[in-house]
Symmetry: C3
Subunit: 134 residues, 3 copies
C-alpha cells in the first residue's frame, strides 16, 4: 500500500493526483486489476473529472458552494465551524475505484483523479492507494 501526501494552500482547492497514482500503478507492476483511491479526511474527497481547464475546477467549487452554503445555521458550526465542508465531502465521498488494464489506469481523455479539500489550507493531507490484481 502506498500514500500520497499533499499540502493545500486555499480554503477550497482541487489538486490533480493522476500522475502520482499512475506512478504507484507502474511501481506495483500490476497489469490487470483495480486501483482503490481513498482519502481519510472528513472535509476532503476524491473526484474524477476534467482537470485540464482551471475554469472548470472553479465551477465545481462554486457549484458545491451554492448547493451547500457555508452560512446556513448548521448545528456543527457551533462546535467546529466547518459543517459545509463535511457535508460536501459526504456527498462526493472519500473514494473512487479505477480499473487497470495493461498497467494503465483506464481513465477517459477528459478524466483526471483529483483530491478536493473544502476546509483548507491544510498540511499533510493523505491519499491512500491500494491495488488489487485480477
Amino acid at each position: 500500500m502506498e500514500e500520497i501526501i499533499l499540502n493545500t494552500t486555499k480554503h477550497n482547492e482541487i489538486i490533480n493526483i493522476t500522475d502520482k497514482i499512475q506512478k504507484i500503478v507502474d511501481k506495483s507492476k500490476v497489469k490487470d486489476g483495480i486501483c482503490s483511491v481513498f482519502t481519510p479526511h472528513a472535509t476532503g474527497a476524491i473526484i474524477i473529472n476534467e482537470n485540464y481547464d482551471p475554469g472548470l475546477c472553479k465551477d465545481i467549487i462554486k457549484a458545491l458552494g451554492v448547493i451547500v452554503p457555508e452560512r446556513s445555521d448548521w448545528e456543527h458550526d457551533r462546535i467546529d465551524n466547518n459543517a459545509a465542508a463535511h457535508i460536501k465531502a459526504a456527498i462526493l465521498g472519500p473514494s473512487e475505484t479505477i480499473q487497470i488494464r495493461n498497467g494503465r489506469l483506464q481513465l477517459g481523455q477528459w478524466q483526471d483523479i483529483s483530491f478536493i479539500e473544502f476546509d483548507g489550507p491544510r498540511a499533510g493531507r493523505r491519499i491512500l492507494v491500494e491495488i488489487i490484481e485480477k
Copy 2:
C-alpha cells in the same frame, strides 16, 4: 460474505455501522485488502463522514432535504410518494470501498461508515459486506 441487519426508527436517519464492519474484518482475518460495503435499498445509501457530533448528522439530513425537497411535483410521487428519497439515495450511492491494512479499516480519525435512510422507519434494512484480500 456477511450482512448487517438494521431497523430504522425515523423518516430520515443516519446509523453508524463502523464497529459492526470492523468486527466482520476481524472475523475474516484478512490483513491487507479492500472492504466493499453495499446496501441493496433504493431509498438508502452508505456515507463516510464524522458521526461523533449528532448535530452534524442533523446538518447532513437537513442539507440533503434542501437540495432535493420532498414536495416538488415529482412524477414518482404519484406512484410511491418517495421520489425525493430515491433521488437522494442515487446522488449518495449505495456503496463505499474502504482499504484494510494490518487488519484495520483505514478510516481517518473523523470518519465513520454510516447507513443513511431517507424513507423510514423501516425494519430489516440490509448492508452487505465483502472483503477482498490483496
Copy 3:
C-alpha cells in the same frame, strides 16, 4: 475485461445496463467477488437506483438540473459550453462497485445499474466492467 458500448439519443438520458452487466458476470463464471463498473466519460456517470418507473428517471434528471443549472455563468462554458454536465458527472461519480454472490449481482429488488449522460446525444459511450474474484 469487458466493455459495453451505448449510443444516447437525448441531451440528458438514463439507460439501464443491469442485464448487460449480469451477462458479463455470467460469462466470467465468477461465483463470489466484486464487479467494478466505470464509464470513462467526463459528462456521464454510473448510478444505482430504481429504473422501473420512467417517471423516477425524469425526476432524477430534473432534480440534478435544479441542483446544477445549465445557465449559471460557468467559466467552462466559454470553452466547451457543457460545464453543468461535467459538474453533475463529478458529483455522481464515474463508477460503482457491486458484490457478486453465487454468480448474481447483489442488487436489491428496486435497484438497477444505469448509465446517465448529461451532454448527449452521443455515439459510442463506453462502460468498462471488471470482475475481481474473491
